[in-house]
C-alpha cells in the first residue's frame, strides 16, 4: 500500500479581495480529491481567511437580505475542506503566521487552524512531497 503524500501550500492573500483566493481553495479541494494530505501556511493577509468572526451580510443595493445574498465566507470553506479531508481519512493542517495574526488582531480562528511561525513553514516545506507558493505577484 503506497504512503499518502503530503502537499504544502503557502498563501498570503486576504479573503474577499482577489480571484487568487478562489483559485487557491480550488487547488486545495482538488488536492483532497487526489487523496493527498494538505498543509497550508498562511501569512500576511491570508491569516484572516480563518478568522472566526467573519459575518454574512445582505446587499441593500440589490434588495437581498443576508440569506438571499448567501455571501461566501472563507472560514466556512476551510471548515468544509477540513470535513472533506476527515471523511477521506486525510490530514488537513492549517497554520497562520503568528506575527501576521497579531498585526491584524485576528486571534479568534476556527477550530483546527493553528498559530505558528517561520520554523513551521520550514518544516512544512521540507517534509512535504512538494510545495506551491502563491505570491501576490
Amino acid at each position: 500500500m503506497s504512503e499518502t503524500k503530503t502537499l504544502t501550500f503557502v498563501f498570503m492573500d486576504p479573503p474577499f479581495e482577489h480571484e487568487r483566493t478562489v483559485t487557491f481553495f480550488r487547488l486545495l479541494d482538488t488536492a483532497l480529491d487526489r487523496d493527498v494530505n494538505v498543509r497550508i501556511f498562511a501569512y500576511e493577509g491570508a491569516v484572516t481567511l480563518s478568522f472566526a468572526r467573519q459575518q454574512r451580510h445582505g446587499n441593500a443595493v440589490h434588495g437581498r437580505d443576508t440569506d438571499e445574498e448567501a455571501h461566501p465566507l472563507t472560514r466556512e470553506w476551510i471548515a468544509s475542506l477540513q470535513n472533506k479531508a476527515s471523511s477521506r481519512g486525510l490530514q488537513f493542517e492549517w497554520i497562520n503566521c503568528g506575527l501576521c495574526v497579531d498585526e491584524r488582531g485576528v486571534n479568534e480562528v476556527i477550530e483546527g487552524c493553528g498559530r505558528g511561525g517561520p520554523p513551521d513553514l520550514w518544516r512544512y516545506a521540507t517534509t512535504a512531497f512538494n510545495t506551491l507558493t502563491i505570491g501576490t505577484r
Binding site: 503524500k5 487568487r20 483559485t23 480550488r26 487526489r34 512538494n130
Partner: protein, 108 residues
C-alpha cells in the same frame, strides 16, 4: 532534470511582466526542459483566437504545452472552440498532478 509547470494567472494586456514570464517558460523549453503553462484567471484571456499578443503567440509556437483552466474560461464566457490551436482545456487537477509528479510548480 526537472519538468516545470507554471500556473499563469497574469495576462499580457494588464501585466507587462507576463511577457517576461512567457519568455522564462520558453527559455526553459529551449534548454530541453519539459514545460507546461497552465492558464488560470485572466491568464486565459490571450488564449482567445481574436486576442493579439505577440509574446503569447511566440510561447504557443515554442513547443511549450499550454493548458487552460475550464473554470476560468467559463467565468469569461470563452468556449473551447474559441481557443487558439494547441491549447487544451483542463481543471486544477493538472497542477496537483504536476506537484505529485515532482515537477517544479511555480505561480505566476
Amino acid at each position: 532534470m526537472s519538468d516545470y509547470l507554471f500556473i499563469q494567472s497574469q495576462d499580457p494586456f494588464t501585466e507587462t511582466r507576463a511577457g517576461h514570464q512567457y519568455r522564462l517558460a520558453q527559455q526553459l523549453r529551449e534548454a530541453g526542459r519539459g514545460v507546461t503553462v497552465l492558464l488560470v484567471q485572466n491568464g486565459v484571456v490571450p488564449a482567445r483566437q481574436e486576442a493579439q499578443s505577440r509574446p503569447f503567440d511566440s510561447l504557443l509556437k515554442a513547443g511549450v504545452k499550454l493548458l487552460a483552466d475550464e473554470f476560468s474560461l467559463r467565468q469569461r464566457e470563452i468556449n473551447d472552440e474559441q481557443l487558439k490551436a494547441g491549447i487544451a482545456v483542463c481543471d486544477m487537477g493538472a497542477a496537483i498532478d504536476a506537484m505529485l509528479a515532482s515537477h517544479k510548480v511555480i505561480w505566476h
